[in-house]
């Protein structure tokens, strides 16, 4: 029996959160599922997708896109660019799905593709000229996102954004995206020891920023 028919065939489009019109709902917006305890792994969903199942893709997308988009948001600090990069990343995943090593951890593979796409795009944008609006002026910067977070989380976010890129990425992957040290090392092309060191140094820098912010506040 092929893997596709093993569990995808029994899942309807409604259950996976796609309305069949191309809208994919995400965790939090999806209806509760009865079979949640028998949740398939990302790797098995990828395998379904490779075998040509669009249901497999929908379920994979629902699981992977929040983490991937969060990672891209932090890299780009711009929602539009993050969405563009999300599309680029998924189109690359689509093209390269036949070269995915079946059973290998999927999230590091996807994040590494996203990271590489980000650096490619950044390199290309450095050589591009800034677009002018029709009246010849530089476009206005996008309005800042509304602040709804708690003060402490917001302070941490600001402190995190001010960290050197290497520390920020290591902390983002291990503390926020939830990768293991080995997986984060794989994504960043370095050793787990180096990741440990970056996270530690990032922590020290964060602590300093948070203490300084607390002293300012009091």
């Amino acid at each position: 029996m092929d893997r596709r028919s093993s569990h995808v065939g029994t899942v309807s489009a409604a259950v996976v959160g796609s309305d069949g019109l191309g809208h994919i709902s995400h965790p939090g917006t999806a209806p509760p599922r009865a079979d949640r305890d028998a949740e398939p792994t990302l790797e098995s969903l990828m395998s379904d997708y490779v075998n040509g199942s669009s249901d497999g893709f929908d379920r994979l997308y629902r699981k992977v896109s929040p983490k991937l988009f969060g990672y891209l948001l932090r890299l780009t600090r711009n929602r539009e660019r993050a969405e563009d990069l999300l599309q680029i990343t998924f189109s690359k995943i689509h093209r390269a799905r036949d070269s995915y090593l079946q059973g290998a951890p999927l999230l590091p593979w996807v994040l590494a593709i996203a990271r590489r796409s980000f650096y490619d795009e950044r390199r290309a944008s450095r050589s591009r000229h800034e677009h002018l609006s029709p009246d010849g002026e530089l476009p206005e910067p996008a309005p800042a996102e509304p602040k709804t977070r708690s003060d402490a989380a917001e302070t941490l976010e600001r402190a995190l954004d001010s960290l050197p890129e290497a520390y920020r990425e290591a902390i983002q992957l291990t503390k926020i995206t939830g990768l293991s040290l080995n997986e984060a090392a794989e994504v960043l092309g370095t050793t787990p020891t180096a990741i440990k060191l970056r996270v530690h140094r990032g922590y020290v820098a964060l602590r300093k920023s948070l203490d300084a912010a607390a002293a300012e506040g009091s």
Binding site: G22, Y61, G70, Q87, A152, I176
Partner: protein
Amino acid sequence: METDELFATLQEKEQERALPSDACNKQIRAACTGDLKACQAMSAKTRSLASLGLLLFVGLSVLLLARQRLSGVTAAALWGATGWALIQVLVLVFGLTRQRGSSARVRVGLALLVPTAFFGYLTLIRSSTSSFSEFVQQPQQTQHAMHCGLFSFVIGSVAAVSIMLLWRRTDPFTPRITGSLAGLAGGLAAATPVGLVCPGTDGWHLCLAHGLSLVLVVALGAVLGRRWLSP
């Protein structure tokens, strides 16, 4: 509040914030499911066996092309060639087959150490070393070196490019390192049999024609690997 608690808060907030727009979701879904068909994915084992077959084919073809020179080959040279063939297999295993299992440091080490060891081997087997100006002033020697070097480079590049095509889009992590190791395997597939049948024993000839061509194929692999091996 402890930093870990703050990270947990941040993680929750990010999950709420990190939802792409509906338009974006729709475009991605259309792009990824529009032409969705089952793929016949080649396993790492199949790719490795195909790469091994390719290297064997390249090596034997070079030997077949220069078979009239094989009668002069000594047993020591044969042992040397066998050793390099085994190193090629090692490069293939650590560079490509186990690209997610081997540490990047080991793989970079292989890409740097093996060409250095090859230069060391060439220095050991040389019978004489003329001065560089003497070597350049002898048109017959320079022509022979050009011929050998170009032949090794072209055959090695063809082998490296074929290996990279077999492993296309398989490595988003370290494509440059994987590419250079594919170059190393391809370069050795050419340099080993060419070295076996080449009568040149001058140090400059060996280093420039045989060693440098290998280094150039490794460099070509690193450049092409970034483009071809990354998804």
